[in-house]
């Protein structure tokens, strides 16, 4: 390219640029009108544009659909996890509430009996070690000062007694067990001694060896008599629900419904020491005299 050609080209460029700039300034005014040539360009391109816009919009819809789907699935998964977490929380709160209620009752009982007994609380950690005995395992043992022979109660009434201990556990023989006989009497008339033992129907107790002329009726309350020397007197055992003659005809027996719900025991109180018994022990002779 010669120098002359270069100069000409540069001049042409300058002129073109000048005009381009001029046109730009003119067409920048607010009341712009589409120039005829521009209109033609637009008109030609418009249908193609329309088609492509439609295609891209449809594609976009598909992409959005899948994106939404993924988002919703993710959200669904998170929600499900959240529900499980919340349900667990609700369950644990309910559990705590129930425990609170139970502990409150036990605490009330403990405060009420603070004059009578030295009580220790224990949690039930197991049940029925062997099939033959009705027993419970609790989480207090010799380390906490628990020894065989101690009586176990809760706010409802008598549960049983400790039969063996390890350093941190103790086994409780329930009064439901046939081996766990308890000396008992009727609370309302004070002087009807008998023995409460378990039955084969495990949720009931029976009071046996009652003389046939003793005044005993349904709905009367049975408490410990203290005569056996194992259980302190005056602890509630159960309610009489029916009185039947014994097979020989000379004695009567009563079926009792225990106050304690043995199937839902979770916390118990162990009587470590009897300070003053709830009631005075009434001897058999006295009771016979008074009845007469």
């Amino acid at each position: 390219m010669t120098k002359k050609q270069k100069v000409i080209i540069s001049l042409v460029l300058v002129v073109i640029f000048y005009f381009a700039f001029k046109i730009m300034v003119i067409t920048s005014r607010e009341e712009t009108t589409v120039l005829p040539l521009g209109g033609v360009v637009r008109e030609i391109i418009a249908p193609i544009q329309k088609g492509i816009t439609w295609i891209t919009a449809s594609l976009n819809d598909v992409v959005v659909y899948f994106n939404d789907n993924r988002f919703l699935r993710q959200q669904n998964k998170e929600m499900a996890e959240k529900i499980v977490r919340l349900e667990e929380e609700v369950y644990s709160l309910k559990e705590q509430e129930l425990e609170n209620q139970r502990l409150l009752l036990l605490l009330e009982y403990k405060e009420e009996k603070t004059e009578n007994y030295d009580l220790a609380m224990a949690k039930v950690i197991g049940r029925n070690h062997a099939n033959w005995y009705e027993t419970l395992l609790v989480n207090q043992g010799s380390k906490q000062g628990i020894w065989p022979g101690m009586v176990v109660v809760n706010h409802d009434g008598l549960i049983g007694r400790i039969i063996n201990v390890t350093p941190n556990t103790a086994e409780v023989l329930l009064i439901l067990d046939r081996e766990g006989a308890v000396g008992a009497r009727i609370f309302e008339n004070r002087h009807t001694p008998g023995v409460v033992v378990g039955t084969s129907k495990s949720q009931y107790l029976q009071m046996i060896h009652l003389p046939h002329d003793l005044p005993i009726e349904p709905n009367q309350t049975v408490v410990t008599s203290g005569l056996s020397g194992v259980y302190p007197p005056g602890i509630r055992i159960g309610k009489v629900i029916e009185v039947l003659p014994e097979p020989g005809g000379l004695m009567k027996r009563a079926t009792l419904k225990p106050f304690v719900d043995f199937f839902r025991l979770e916390e118990v109180l162990i009587i470590k020491k009897v300070k003053t018994p709830e009631e005075k022990i009434v001897s058999e002779e006295e009771s016979v005299v008074e009845n007469a």
Binding site: M24, V25, Q49
Partner: protein, 165 residues
């Protein structure tokens, strides 16, 4: 098909794609300037003067299509091609880094010119536009180069071979 006819058709395709497909593919609220990519690629192979003319022509087409400020894109794209063509004379175009850098700097140059021209004709444009529009667009343009350049390069090489036969 003659090179410039092909390039013109590509220009139309770019114009259409820019107003349709890439409106859906906006990143950081900018879309790439496909015409600028085409014009800068062109001045790689055709030198400053032909590049400038082609840039002017496609820029004018874009302006006509847009309908206002006719000549703004023509001017800026022509100038960008002219400067780009001069700077890229004898550049090693087989290396991908060259078009990548050229596109990045070219986009920034082109965007700055547009803001500058806008200022001259009294548009209420802020220089912050440089950060919000020019820079993101330059990055977007640059990111597209690796996808386009090798096909473009092979196509031009083939075209040159055919013409020399």
């Amino acid at each position: 098909m003659p090179y410039y006819v092909m390039m013109f058709l590509w220009g139309i395709v770019c114009l259409i794609l820019q107003s349709t497909l890439f409106s859906q593919l906006m990143i950081a609220s900018v879309k790439p300037d496909l015409l600028l990519i085409l014009i800068i690629f062109n001045c790689f192979f055709q030198g400053p003067y032909k590049g400038c003319a082609f840039g002017f022509f496609l820029g004018l087409l874009e302006d006509l299509y847009l309908g206002s400020y006719i000549g703004m894109n023509a001017l800026t794209k022509a100038l960008t091609s002219l400067v780009g063509g001069w700077l890229l004379k004898g550049a090693f175009r087989e290396k991908l880094l060259v078009p990548v850098l050229a596109l990045f700097l070219g986009s920034i140059f082109n965007g700055t010119l547009i803001i500058f021209l806008g200022h001259i004709i009294g548009l209420n444009w802020d220089w912050n536009l440089f950060y919000w529009k020019v820079l993101p667009m330059a990055i977007y343009n640059t990111c597209l180069v690796p996808f386009i350049y090798s096909s473009f390069y092979h196509w031009v090489e083939q075209d040159i071979k055919q013409q020399s036969l």
